[in-house]
């Protein structure tokens, strides 16, 4: 039977296993919305407050569940509002499909109402983008978008559908879920070389990035760490790659990494790097990164090999296969001296955790941590609070952290938390700052309309904390535009949005507020007042190394 483009679009989305999409209606997607209306019982649409929120929600949905998140927007401003969300997902290799409506093909390029070059705009911020030129190719294009989003190194894919294509009719025959293209198997001769390097190592580190999460390699990574008797260090994207309470887990290294993690990297003789891309924030001065170590670099994307770090052994291909192969072939190792040495660094860092009477960031994170379940989603925005979460939160399960790593998108958190809560149905906590929250707090409306079990914990210091920290350390305390001097009352604001608003100025109030918030299954905002002079330490200055580390 002949069906219209929008019917085919909705059928194809359902066929691809999509149950929830995040979006915002507009002139060039009204036909699609009409089809969503008719299919309400088969696919649900979540109306966000802004298209950027929809893109971040699709991203959070994907990060938390591993499924392909989907967002929908109209042409022109709808499409441009998606761009930050697409760039965020692209920087962190998150599989997503964005659908945009466009003006009818005969109007494209004529500067008609809400006409913008969506396709052109999307090129540098997506893995790929398609413009559908005939209704006959629509279904296959949408399927290809899903296949591409999840295959190889994942990423966001955009499908732009002009209005006339949405209306045109053609035959549609349903297909199954587009399977991902099988990942290339790594060369086993190279893996055998890796085995030899591991056997010769006395001080090994397993260094994990987002690829471990994307490739569902958390379990095998833990086994590898145990079998090699290595310590595990991660980039921010790899924070949930292993149970953080595991004795071999050292946490994040890099600019704001934990002391023991950075120290272990600088003293190890072997780095087994898995799905990590050695960004500037993670390595600091690359000449001084892991100066005593050989590096084995495992990554699905061979373009990452040699891009930032020239590893001794570069192994492209399926990460899960590579890690499983190495783990199964390896004889269990023991490195008691290395163990003792690194544990001594670990113990030293305990000093930085000491309380001193105020409501301090680490106390807030610990208090949430106490009440959270292993599957509780933790979303963050970007800045000091994000680093504190990365340093102090104890993650138990992969995919429980939603944070913008590569792009560092302030305002990411609200949308991402909504997406994560919807994908998993689990309690979700967003740690944010008063600066970041100010960027996209409009999505509180979405959390309320969806009645999500979402707790927004604002680490409110009245300043743009990370900006202030850099001005403090590198710009002689010239606090230009980092003092917010706002009078926003976040408790009243929460109330105005229909959420519950609470305030905590000390630990007792915080504990009461969190007890109340965790008991509720609806959105709660907790305004936590923290001192503005609190900086994130340790800190390795940009392009620095362990020699330049600032501890306090």
């Amino acid at each position: 039977m002949e069906q219209s483009g929008c019917q085919i679009l909705i059928e194809t989305l359902i066929e691809q296993g999509v149950t929830t999409i995040f979006g915002y209606p507009g002139g060039q997607v009204l036909n699609i919305y009409d089809e969503l209306y008719k299919n309400k019982h088969r696919i649900s649409h979540v109306l966000t407050a802004h298209e950027q929120g929809a893109a971040h929600a699709a991203d959070g949905y994907s990060r938390s569940s591993g499924k392909v998140g989907v967002c929908l927007a109209t042409s022109g401003p709808g499409a441009t509002n998606l761009i930050t969300g697409l760039a965020t997902a692209n920087a962190d290799s998150i599989p997503m499909v964005a659908i945009t409506g466009n003006v009818p093909m005969e109007l494209i390029g004529s500067d008609s109402f809400q006409d913008v070059d969506t396709f052109g705009l999307s090129i540098p911020v997506t893995k790929h983008s398609f413009r559908v030129n005939t209704v006959e190719t629509l279904a296959e294009t949408v399927r290809e978008a899903f296949r591409l989003a999840k295959s190889g190194r994942p990423g966001p894919v955009l499908v732009d559908i002009p209005k006339n294509i949405q209306i045109d009719k053609t035959e549609y025959s349903p297909m199954g879920i587009a399977e991902k293209i099988p990942d290339a198997k790594p060369n086993t001769a190279l893996l055998d070389q890796a085995l030899e390097m591991i056997n010769n190592s006395k001080r090994p580190i397993v260094y994990c990035g987002g690829g471990v999460i994307n490739g569902n390699c958390a379990d095998v990574t833990t086994k590898l760490v145990e079998k090699t008797d290595a310590f595990m260090v991660c980039s921010m994207m790899g924070l949930t790659a292993m149970d953080n309470s595991h004795p071999k887990y050292l946490g994040m290294s890099g600019m704001h990494g934990r002391f023991a993690a950075s120290k272990a990297i600088s003293e190890c003789d072997l780095v087994i790097a898995a799905g990590v891309r050695f960004t500037d924030r993670a390595t600091g001065n690359r000449q001084k990164f892991a100066p005593n170590a050989k590096i084995i670099h495992l990554d699905i994307d061979s373009a990452e090999h040699g891009k930032n770090i020239d590893a001794a052994l570069k192994i492209p291909g399926d990460l899960h296969f590579a890690l499983s192969y190495i783990t199964s072939k390896l004889e269990p190792q023991k490195h008691p001296q290395w163990e003792e040495l690194v544990h001594s660094y670990k113990n030293k860092t305990k000093d930085f955790y000491a309380p001193d009477g105020y409501l301090l960031p680490w106390q807030i994170i610990a208090a949430v941590n106490q009440r959270a379940a292993p599957e509780t989603n933790i979303a963050t925005d970007v800045g000091q609070h994000q680093m504190w979460v990365a340093q102090y939160y104890n993650f138990k399960k992969p995919r429980t952290l939603q944070t913008s790593g590569g792009l560092g998108t302030m305002g990411y958190g609200m949308g991402a938390a909504i997406g994560a809560a919807m994908a998993t149905g689990s309690k979700t906590v967003l740690f944010t700052g008063d600066g970041s929250f100010g960027m996209n707090l409009n999505e509180l409306a979405t959390a309320v309309s969806q009645n999500l079990p979402l707790i927004v914990v604002i680490l409110n210091n009245g300043v743009l904390g990370m900006i202030r920290q850099w001005q403090n350390l590198f710009f002689q305390n010239h606090f230009m535009s980092s003092n917010l001097e706002r009078k926003t009352d976040f408790v009243k604001l929460a109330d105005a949005f229909g959420a519950t608003g609470l305030r905590a100025t000390n630990l007792t109030e915080l504990n009461e507020a969190l007890d109340q918030a965790f008991a509720l299954a609806s959105p709660v905002v907790i305004d936590c007042l923290i001192p503005d002079e609190e900086n994130v330490f340790p800190m390795v200055p940009p392009n620095g190394s362990l020699e330049n580390i600032i501890l306090k």
């Binding site: 396709f119 052109g120 893995k127 790929h128 373009a303 040699g306």
Partner: protein, 171 residues
């Protein structure tokens, strides 16, 4: 040879013949901060694909990254670095040169020596068409510069490997 010496290199790329492909390739260059020296694109014997030849300058790492990043693009079917020893490299030049007075004969002699064609003449100017490797075109332009080049236009390099091996088989 050291890895950080900048060298010019030519890359041949087969891409699917779709709107937007050209934008995507050129966008990659600005996105990754690669400089393009020349860029040509044209149809091939297979209507489904186009062939591009890009010349760029960079060190070994830059070259390797460029090749890998291009290879990753969805529309790209085949990428190959063209080695100087085994490649036919050609560029087309049309130069309009001042031919007033006595300079005309000198220019015509030079055109002859460089095996180029005179394709247009006016009382004041002469147009010369020349194909060859870029260095030959450069040498010609340097020689005639003192006589006054009014304008010139170059196509950028195209490149094909010698022998019967093809970059992309016909479907």
């Amino acid at each position: 040879m050291s890895n950080d010496i900048n060298q010019q290199f030519a890359v041949s790329i087969i891409v699917s013949n779709q709107s937007g492909t050209l934008t995507r390739i050129s966008s990659l260059f600005s996105q990754r901060n690669f400089n393009i020296d020349s860029f040509t694109c044209g149809v091939t014997n297979n209507p489904e694909v186009s062939r591009m030849t890009i010349t760029a300058t960079g060190d070994v790492n830059k070259k390797e990254q460029l090749l890998k990043q291009i290879t990753k693009l969805y529309d790209v079917k085949k990428v190959e670095l063209m080695t100087c020893e085994n490649t036919i490299l050609r560029e087309l030049l049309i130069a309009k040169v001042n031919a007033k007075g006595e300079s005309l004969q000198t220019i015509l002699d030079a055109a002859n020596v460089f095996r180029s064609k005179v394709v247009d003449m006016s009382p004041e100017s002469v147009c010369i068409e020349m194909t060859g490797e870029s260095s030959k075109l450069n040498a010609f332009l340097t020689y005639i510069a003192p006589y006054g080049i009014l304008e010139y236009c170059r196509t950028g390099l195209i490149a094909v490997e010698r022998g019967s091996k093809c970059l992309y088989g016909v479907k």
